[in-house]
């Protein structure tokens, strides 16, 4: 075990404005490969009526309208659906694989976009940097990789998967 405290903050704005940090895990193609191997799939966009959107909302409490352009039909049975959920500080793009029987096969996070401010842990260090924020913009995205702290709830994803399963029941399973 080897831990080193943050003694020399590099390029840190003490009270940086809220920034956004996107973590990209898998592309759509990579997620398709992870879930269904090399099984061919075809893009099969769905157009939902206002009524159907209401039913998805009621079943999942996700208020964002479902975008039906990211739905793929897998040869030999099954579906691959990309969807998005929005939380207080985050927007998550995720993929759900549905097997031929209509059950969830896999869930993968494709992209996690998070917004936050930034501060240095120790007040005595902080003082040195007050007012220097503009000269030393924090490079978000490159160095912030491993974030501990308040546990993020995956409840939004649970709700999102509920709505994808509702989409399956309402629409996909009736597609020939």
């Amino acid at each position: 075990m080897n831990w080193k405290p943050a003694l020399l903050p590099v390029a840190i704005a003490a009270f940086a404005p809220v920034g956004a940090h996107a973590k990209v895990y898998l592309s759509v193609e990579q997620a398709q490969q992870v879930m269904f191997g090399n099984a061919p799939m075809s893009l099969s966009p769905v157009v939902l009526t206002g009524d159907q959107q209401d039913q998805l909302h009621a079943a999942s409490s996700v208020s964002l309208k479902f975008d039906g352009h990211r739905v793929w039909k897998v040869a030999g049975g099954g579906w691959f659906v990309v969807d998005e959920v929005v939380g207080k500080h985050e927007t998550i793009t995720y993929a759900v694989g549905i097997d031929a029987a209509g059950k969830v096969k896999d869930i993968e996070i494709l992209e996690y976009l998070e917004s936050y401010g930034y501060e240095v842990a120790d007040a005595s260090w902080r003082k040195q940097f007050v007012g220097k924020g503009a000269d030393a913009p924090l490079k978000l995205g490159r160095d912030i990789e491993n974030i501990g702290g308040a546990t993020l709830s995956s409840k939004h994803i649970t709700d999102g998967v509920k709505r994808v399963l509702t989409l399956y029941d309402l629409v996909l399973k009736h597609v020939a």
Partner: protein, 297 residues
């Protein structure tokens, strides 16, 4: 091209993230030295996520069919044999209970059920004076409770899951990786990685230095207060999984204090954060006995 993509290409880092244990499990394999082919990486990821799912299935309080729920349902009447992993977590729990003079006590599950923070699966009437001292760990992975009680392995099970995922990666030939289960994380390999801590509101990040070959866990005392009658005054019960109960007073800890522990394993790191959060102060020598470093942010 996003900055992440550039970093990933230069450093050859492969990431996956899946929802598990009520949070997000993020696994990053760093194969800059190029020892793994695509199939190796895929198998390593699959094995690591399978280990996480296995621990979750065994030790979930929410799942009435888990090993833990089976134990809670029957162990006050007769000996119950549990999975070796469940037993292993109980051994850690006993060590923490004994070393902390009872500050770390997994029998607060009963209190959380009473407060409506955990689901009620059985007709549990936890004896009011029950503690982890009433949990007997017998030979051959058998467990018995000396009086009615209800265990909740909560955070240490999550920490243990991270440790098993690291084991799985190592046994698949991975030399450098980070497993982060919604804030409980462990670094495999001697390459130091930067660590940041998300604050209590989830709105700011705090620089917490770098870590190699070790685990980092953070415990934030809850974002709500609960009075002794157990009625939460919080607007949102979603924050309840952060609840820490002080076993001495059987009260939910109310201070908003953010503490972290650096330790060799994630199960220890997570367990020790509870002690630090309840105690609210550091005794460096006490933590050093676990080869751990406490941090109060």
């Amino acid at each position: 091209m996003s900055p992440d993509t550039i970093t990933a290409e230069a450093k050859r880092v492969w990431r996956r993230c899946r929802p598990a244990m009520g949070t997000f499990v993020d696994i990053a394999i760093d194969d800059t030295r190029g020892a793994l082919d695509e199939r190796d990486r895929h198998e390593a990821m699959t094995a690591a996520f399978a280990a996480i799912d296995r621990v979750a299935a065994l030790m979930s309080f929410h799942d009435a069919n888990s090993d833990l729920s089976r134990l809670n349902a029957a162990a006050s009447r007769s000996r119950v044999r549990v999975h070796p992993w469940t037993y292993d977590v109980l051994v850690h729990a006993r060590r923490l209970f004994e070393a902390s003079g009872g500050l770390f006590d997994c029998t607060v599950g009963g209190d959380l059920v009473e407060r409506g923070l955990l689901p009620r699966h059985h007709r549990i009437a936890q004896a009011s004076a029950a503690s982890f001292a009433d949990v007997d760990l017998l030979d051959d992975d058998h467990v018995v409770y000396r009086r009615p009680l209800c265990l909740d392995l909560g955070g240490i099970a999550k920490g243990y899951a991270v440790d098993r995922a690291i084991d799985a990666l190592r046994s698949q030939g991975v030399a450098s990786a980070v497993v982060n289960a919604g804030g409980d994380l462990r670094v495999l390999g001697s390459e130091p990685v930067p660590i940041h801590v998300r604050d209590l509101d989830g709105a700011r990040l705090i620089d917490a230095g770098t870590l190699a070959d070790g685990a980092f866990a953070t415990s934030s005392t809850p974002w709500f207060t609960a009075d002794v009658t157990g009625r939460s005054r919080s607007a949102s019960s979603r924050q309840a999984p952060g609840a820490i109960v002080d076993p001495r007073a059987r009260r939910v800890v109310e201070d908003r204090q953010l503490v972290s522990i650096i330790a060799p394993t994630c199960v220890l790191a997570d367990g020790l954060t509870k002690v630090l959060a309840i105690e609210g102060a550091c005794d460096l020598a006490w933590f050093a006995a676990f080869d751990a470093v406490p941090l109060i942010h």
